[in-house]
Assembly symmetry: C3
Homo-oligomer: 152 residues x 3
């Protein structure tokens, strides 16, 4: 049993490798928000701190619609992707059924990429954002409940 | 020694299982903020992005007291629960005294649940929020220092 | 191979111990933001929620320059340090060249400490903050790409 628990954190475990892959993709996606925010800031010449101003055209402002939209998407990522990184790891330790686990990881990964796209790249009317949000949240919640069940 | 380090990440290790349990509970609690925020948004018909508006009654607003209170509690969770998820895992790897470790995990878990309750469910006068905040922060800081000590 | 993957998460692996050390240091640094924020709040008598007010001099306000600066630095930490904690762990599992990995961890750790200093302790003109930001982000991105490569 102990030995089994160890072999779960291994490149030989397809569940763990799928978790590793989608987690790394989601961290890349998280860092993509830096580029999206930077783009908007330069386009609008609107920056976050006075020491960032380099010309008379540039200004500090906290209510630009396009910049705040990207920042909201970024914060939503922190609220959802970061807990997933931990819960996905725990879920691998519960030795889940591979087919289910692998597809849940894919669902979370793809949903969060779509979430950013419809929120902060090209704004698509609701329920696009709601659906992409919930299709990442529900699998993560399922994993969390499986981890709690595993503890008993 | 190497073998020992491995057996720490195991369902046979009661310290690790306690960490796993309270971490998953805290992730559930973190996601409960989504429901608390949603409740307030629907009650106040106040949403975060223009594409969320579905009737003339609904509006976008960023300074509603009740909604911003839930969002502050949510951000405080990100600042405290997320680092705990990592530090608690590291702390398990230092092979701590089980009685102490298990009770520290319980203290962090229960304190953070109380923190949300007194901040964003029923507002209870200070020092309720301060105490629940500090009773989760101090054990997490202690674990962090034990991890640093372990590295030498 | 499986056995190798396990020996990577071990106090005998200098890469893993360096990761553990700098991650714990960065969590300490993250919690230092609590002290920096508290300092500014008491100095300005400006608090975040009405129940925090304890005298007629104290007030609730969300646009104090010094407090918001510390809060921006704190949020930037969440956006960068928290993903690093996960990615650094994954990167250890890819069995990287020790010299490179150890120095990348040091670079991330030191850059993020400097970032807080120039952003929220003593404001130093740009490009100080930009450089400290990018010198932590680029190594983290490199690690993320190595993890993705490892999955194939």
């Amino acid at each position: 049993m102990t030995t089994k628990a160890f072999t779960l954190i291994s490149p030989q475990n397809p569940v763990f490798i799928t978790y590793l892959f989608w987690s790394a993709i989601l961290v890349l996606k998280l860092f993509a928000m830096v580029i999206l925010t930077g783009n908007q800031r330069w386009r609008k010449m609107t920056f976050i701190s006075p020491e960032d101003l380099f010309s008379k055209k540039s200004k500090v402002k906290y209510d630009d619609d396009d910049i705040e939209r990207v920042r909201r998407a970024h914060r939503n990522d922190l609220e959802n992707i970061l807990p997933f990184l931990t819960i996905g790891f725990f879920y691998c330790l519960t030795d889940p059924e591979p087919w289910l686990a692998i597809n849940l990881f894919r669902l979370v990964g793809i949903s969060r990429i779509i979430h950013t796209f419809v929120y902060a790249v090209i704004v698509i009317p609701q329920p696009a954002r709601f659906l992409s949000f919930i299709l990442a949240l529900l699998p993560t919640l399922y994993m969390t409940l499986q981890v709690i069940k595993f503890c008993f």
